[in-house]
């Protein structure tokens, strides 16, 4: 076992443990702002996972979009509604049960897929930057979804502007 393998393994388990801890804290935190900050930690952990998988573009995207923009949006949304959403146990019982069932179903499917899929395990860690290949795919095979993404973003922008206009 090479030194890098040991290093990767250590980083993986450290980050994975942190993510589980942060994810649980996010759900259990009583204060919405704290929940959001725990979520930042979880999402940052995902970025490290992408780095370990040699998915450099996704790691950058994760930091820029999720840890950056979406968390800012989420914190603003929490602050737009003070004392309305951060009441402890505000969710009705039925909603909690259905949320738990949904989470359980997602967990079950994910575990099943992980165990039943024949993963292509490589002897050496992947060490090829993925941005180039992603760029080629986005500009050739997936050029149509890529362009439609711009329409989706435009629709989102129009929606934000018309709904947030104060008059």
């Amino acid at each position: 076992m090479a030194a890098t393998d040991v290093f990767v393994a250590i980083v993986f388990y450290l980050v994975a443990a942190t993510m589980i801890l942060a994810g649980a804290s996010m759900v259990l935190a009583r204060n919405m702002v704290r929940s959001a900050l725990w979520l930042v930690l979880t999402l940052a952990g995902v970025a490290v996972m992408y780095v370990l998988l040699s998915a450099d573009f996704l790691a950058v995207a994760q930091i820029l979009v999720y840890v950056g923009a979406i968390m800012i949006l989420m914190l603003f949304a929490i602050m737009l509604t003070p004392n309305q959403v951060d009441l402890p146990s505000a969710a009705p019982q039925a909603q909690r049960i259905s949320a738990a069932l949904t989470a359980l179903a997602v967990f079950g499917i994910s575990v099943f897929v992980m165990l039943s899929h024949r993963w292509n395990v490589r002897a050496v860690p992947l060490d090829a930057p993925s941005s180039e290949r992603l760029g080629v795919l986005l500009m050739s095979t997936y050029v149509l979804p890529f362009e439609i993404a711009s329409l989706l973003l435009t629709a989102g922008m129009i929606g934000a502007i018309v709904i947030a206009r104060e008059e």
Binding site: F7, S131, E132, M139, A160
Partner: protein, 117 residues
């Protein structure tokens, strides 16, 4: 993983400096708290209201627009690293993407969404 060693060193340094600052200031500063000292403003008038007020919705609008343009900027990365190889097809694809959101930007300006009222 050699490519990321610089990043790792950077992250480790950042974590170390942050930890160091907290530890040093915690160790070195004398601590004898009193009620007056723990208030946000140690002297002068006390705070007129709690910090949990409703923020205007325009903050959310700015955050939303930031998100849209952040994602747009992000899509430039995979194109930029291969701009030469992708040649005209790449430029056309990126141009179409940029044109739609560029019009979106002009629209946002025309609607005054980018001015702070």
């Amino acid at each position: 993983m050699a490519d990321y060693s610089a990043l790792m060193v950077y992250l480790a340094l950042a974590a170390a400096i942050a930890a160091l600052l907290v530890i040093i200031s915690g160790r070195l500063s004398p601590s004898n708290p009193s009620i007056a000292k723990l208030r946000p403003y140690e002297c002068g008038v006390s705070e007129p209201q709690t910090t949990e007020t409703r923020w205007p919705v325009r903050f959310a609008l700015v955050a939303m627009l930031f998100l849209v343009f952040d994602v747009e900027a992000l899509f430039f990365f995979p194109w930029a690293v291969l701009a030469r190889e992708l040649s005209w097809n790449g430029l056309l694809a990126m141009g179409g993407f940029f044109a739609v959101l560029g019009v979106g930007y002009l629209y946002a300006r025309a609607r005054g969404a980018l001015t702070w009222r």
